[in-house]
């Protein structure tokens, strides 16, 4: 209920400075901004990064619609970005890197672009389970032997988990018309689940302290945790494939789009991407020249997921799971 006279307010577009709303780790943003400024000295001190959760980026962008404060939305799920796009929060454009990007990873109208790919894999505690005994595929997770060994980051409030669970349903019903087999599968998973974790941190703590030893989680974080924080985590690329989520970037309508465009162009710079892949285990959504070792050996097997079907049904499915399946298996 506001914005009567907002058109005249200059807002944040004065000079060239711009604000980035980022759901990326602060280490990543600091690193990237440093490089960006080094390359574009005129932006020294003009790039402001605010770190927050992906959901909060959406909330904030939405709330500020009348007078946008941010220029770049850096880090968000496909669903989140689509929501933003549909609410007319994002600016459509055609960057130079768009051409090399798989159409699945970007918005058709150019309102958002995938930055990194997040394969969702099976995570296990490698102190508790030897690598050879870890489950090999999704269906292994529902085996009775893992009763009370699984910990799941609670689903409804997590974009990642919603995608994984929806993918599990859609896997068994390609057109999404009959979710029942998927529900049954999730019910069995629920039976094996000892606890739902409140947030990623909670998940890591509970995994490391062995309240449960198995989970489904994204590859990047598993690698980061085990390498950086010395967590006892290992991963298994599921035999039937990993749902690959796209995590993207966008330009916020009404912000400083000039600086924002420059920044995004830089974000897809080849060397930068290589560095990010090496140091932060990011899988870029665009092809890059030099892949670090881990990426080259990854053997990523994407699961064939129809995100359109999921987008149509996700709310219903997850609501059903929340009401009828969770803690009832």
């Amino acid at each position: 209920g506001s914005g009567d006279e907002g058109a005249e307010t200059p807002g944040g577009t004065t000079a060239e400075s711009f604000v980035v709303y980022s759901a990326r780790d602060k280490k990543v943003t600091d690193f990237v901004v440093e490089q960006f400024v080094a390359k574009n000295p005129e932006y020294k001190g003009k790039v402001e990064v605010l770190n927050m959760g992906a959901q909060e980026v959406l909330e904030r962008t939405r709330a500020e619609k009348a007078n946008p404060q941010g220029s770049v939305w850096w880090g968000g799920t496909q669903q989140g970005l689509s929501t933003g796009a549909n609410e007319d929060l994002l600016e459509a454009w055609q960057p130079s890197f768009a051409g090399t990007m798989d159409a699945r990873y970007k918005d058709a109208q150019g309102r958002w672009f995938g930055e990194i790919l997040l394969p969702e894999v099976i995570m296990y505690n490698n102190k508790a389970i030897p690598a050879d005994q870890a489950p090999k595929d999704w269906d292994d997770l529902i085996a009775p032997q893992w009763k009370d060994k699984v910990i799941i980051r609670d689903v409804p409030a997590s974009g990642t988990m919603r995608s994984i669970y929806s993918a599990m349903i859609q896997r068994l019903s390609p057109d999404g018309s009959n979710p029942q087999p998927g529900y049954d599968w999730l019910k069995k998973l629920d039976a094996n689940t000892v606890e739902y974790a409140a947030n990623p941190t909670d998940l890591y703590v509970k995994m490391s302290r062995e309240q449960g030893v198995l989970s489904a989680w994204n590859l990047q974080d598993i690698l980061l945790q085990s390498e950086r924080s010395k967590m006892p985590f290992g991963y298994v690329m599921p035999a039937s494939g990993a749902p690959v989520l796209v995590d993207g970037v966008a330009i916020i309508k009404g912000g400083n789009s000039e600086g924002a465009k420059k920044f995004l162009e830089f974000l897809f710079d080849g060397t930068l991407r290589a560095n990010l892949a090496k140091d932060f285990f990011q899988i870029p959504a665009v092809p890059i020249a030099e892949q670090p070792e881990w990426l080259a050996n990854l053997g990523l097997k994407p699961m064939d997921v129809d995100w359109d079907v999921i987008a149509k049904n996700e709310t219903d499915w997850i609501n059903h799971w929340n009401a009828e399946i969770k803690n009832k298996g």
Binding site: T9, D154, P200, T201, D202, V205, E210
Partner: protein, 583 residues
């Protein structure tokens, strides 16, 4: 009744006379309240109405009918939330009042220190605080695991989970509402009333039940309101303990689902429930008077002979303090333990200073702390000025719409922080009259403003409770001696309210320093508060450094508590209760 009507003078004469009434005139309350109402309307009520409007935007009241159907999530959530809130009020009441009794009625070595510690649980940083509870009491917690090892059982012992876990967290973090309110009231209590009850043969317990507790009603009502509303709007605890059928969880889930009208519906219902509870409490409190009618000022000296009491009190207080400090100790453990060194062990196996080195070696490490300090102090100052005035207006002045004013203030506390922040953004993303035509979004001022709106109820409630125990004839005496209303208000009424005001200000300050959910939506890089800084660490699972940051926050709050304890100690009338219980 037959009103005696005198000759009606001319209209002008009548007005002139009315205007001359000054602070005791009928129009005075409106004059005093008008700016407050404007502030509330602009900053609180209008945005809340927007929420309501949104909740009925899509399909009318259909969203609301969901709360009436017995099977739906909506209704279960509502009931779960209500149960949790009611239980939290009870538990916090018991713990808080008991602590107040121990610490304010007995004096023993170290009492001061414990008093300074006692607010720390309320000051636990979000997320890291909640996690510390998990590390303590949940299935992976130190306590259950320790017991498991001790007793050699297969499963962790006494692990809290679900609603029980939520209640534990609520009790720990919210009992200070009761503790502070009750101790301020106990200190200002007319001791002769208690003596009269003993004299009539009532035993200690009976005196508590029939005289002290009822006389503490304003304080307890104030604390109950705050605890009830906080529990209702509590998010992290249900999240961590996996109780997802609560109102706040549903708000979050619906927002994630993109069902904004439904989320607003939940928020509106939350508000309505809180208002209903508020009105109920107002009615309950209003039934009786709590103002001592004693002549003169009673001697504060009371003496106890009971040696058990003398020994029991310190022992019990120290035990309680240990339990209360356990979460802080847990954070300290994490802060000093090496990353990855603590997995299945009961307590960490390796210790290090690295986490502190990490934060201090950062160039702008202290900035978030200073930011939080600055913004909280600003907001608290605003809360004190406005809160005290509203408390006075609502309690002492007679005017139409007193209850509405009360509700208007409290509503900001009843709603989840996210909702408040989003409302503020909508209200101030462009300039309007309340911001002097400035767009506050993206400026420094939006954060203190948000804190002000959110924490005003804390100061208001605490002040109001202490005002209920102050004899209005003291202010009359001052006016009679020639003091203007302002002077009498400041030098007498506010001075006597001070214990309550300090309590409110402390609560506001502490909550300001810890505020996260609203801050994260409106902060800018130059106003990054400490909570966001901690959260950024948590986000990248640098739990050690996050805990180290958390420790800094705890220390900051502890220092403030210590000094405010001093401050209060200076105000003799207020806190001289305890010393005199021992001869």
């Amino acid at each position: 009744m037959t009103a005696v009507s005198s000759t009606v003078p001319s209209r002008r004469g009548e007005w002139a006379r009315r205007l001359r009434g000054g602070a005791s005139a009928a129009w005075f309350p409106y004059l005093l309240v008008a700016p407050l109402v404007l502030i509330l309307w602009g900053y609180v009520v209008q945005p809340m109405l927007a929420t309501f409007a949104e909740s009925v935007s899509d399909d009318g009241t259909a969203n609301y009918t969901q709360f009436l159907t017995s099977s739906g999530v909506a209704r279960t959530s509502l009931i779960t939330s209500l149960v949790i809130s009611a239980a939290s009020v009870l538990l916090c009441g018991v713990v808080g009042v008991a602590m107040a009794f121990l610490l304010k009625r007995f004096s023993f070595a170290g009492r001061r220190l414990i008093e300074a510690f006692i607010l720390v649980p309320a000051a636990l940083p979000p997320l890291i605080g909640a996690i510390s509870f998990q590390l303590l009491y949940s299935e992976i917690g130190i306590l259950p695991r320790g017991l498991q090892q001790l007793l050699g059982t297969a499963q962790p012992v006494l692990a809290f989970d679900g609603i029980a876990g939520v209640l534990v967290v609520h009790t720990f973090t919210m009992y200070p509402f009761f503790y502070l309110a009750a101790s301020a009231a106990l200190a200002g209590f007319d001791p002769s009333i208690e003596e009269a009850a003993y004299n009539l043969g009532a035993g200690r317990i009976r005196v508590w039940r029939t005289v002290l507790l009822p006389m503490l009603t304003p304080a307890l009502v104030s604390a109950s309101l705050l605890v009830f509303m906080t529990s209702l709007a509590s998010y992290t605890a249900p999240l961590l303990f996996g109780v997802d059928q609560t109102m706040t969880m549903q708000i979050y889930i619906n927002r994630t689902n993109g069902d904004l009208p439904m989320a607003s519906t939940y928020a509106a219902v939350l508000g309505l429930v809180s208002i209903a509870f508020l009105l109920l409490m107002r009615w309950y409190e209003g039934r009786r008077s709590y103002l001592s009618q004693s002549k003169g000022v009673s001697a504060q000296r009371r003496e106890i002979a009971n040696p058990i009491g003398r020994w029991l009190a310190p022992v019990a207080s120290v035990l309680a303090a240990l339990v209360l400090l356990a979460p802080v100790a847990t954070i300290a453990l994490v802060a000093f333990s090496a990353d990855g060194s603590w997995t299945t062990e009961v307590i960490p196996s390796a210790y290090t200073m690295d986490n502190f080195v990490t934060i201090f070696s950062e160039p702008r490490a202290f900035e978030p702390i200073l930011n939080s300090l600055k913004m909280s102090v600003l907001a608290t100052a605003g809360c004190v000025v406005v809160g005290v005035l509203i408390a006075y207006a609502v309690r002492r002045l007679k005017f139409v719409g007193r209850s509405l004013l009360d509700v208007g203030v409290m509503i900001a506390w009843a709603l989840p922080g996210t909702v408040v922040a989003i409302n503020l953004i909508s209200a101030f993303s462009t300039g309007n009259g309340f911001s002097f035509g400035q767009a506050l979004i993206g400026t420094f001022w939006i954060l203190p403003l948000a804190y002000f709106v959110r924490f005003l109820p804390l100061v208001f409630r605490a002040s109001s409770a202490s005002l209920a125990l102050i004899d209005p004839s003291l202010e009359e005496a001052a006016r009679n001696l020639g003091a203007s209303w302002w002077r009498a208000f400041l030098s007498i009424t506010v001075r006597l309210m001070l214990p309550g005001v300090i309590v409110g200000a402390l609560l506001a300050f502490v909550h300001g320093v810890g505020e996260f959910v609203a801050s994260v939506l409106i902060y800018t890089s130059s106003t990054t508060p400490i909570s966001v800084a901690i959260n950024n660490r948590m986000y990248s699972f640098e739990i050690g450094t996050a805990a180290a940051y958390g420790m800094l926050q705890v220390v900051l709050i502890f220092v403030v508590m210590w000094f405010s304890g001093r401050l209060e100690g200076g105000g003799r009338a207020a806190s001289r209760g305890a010393e005199q219980w021992t001869n």
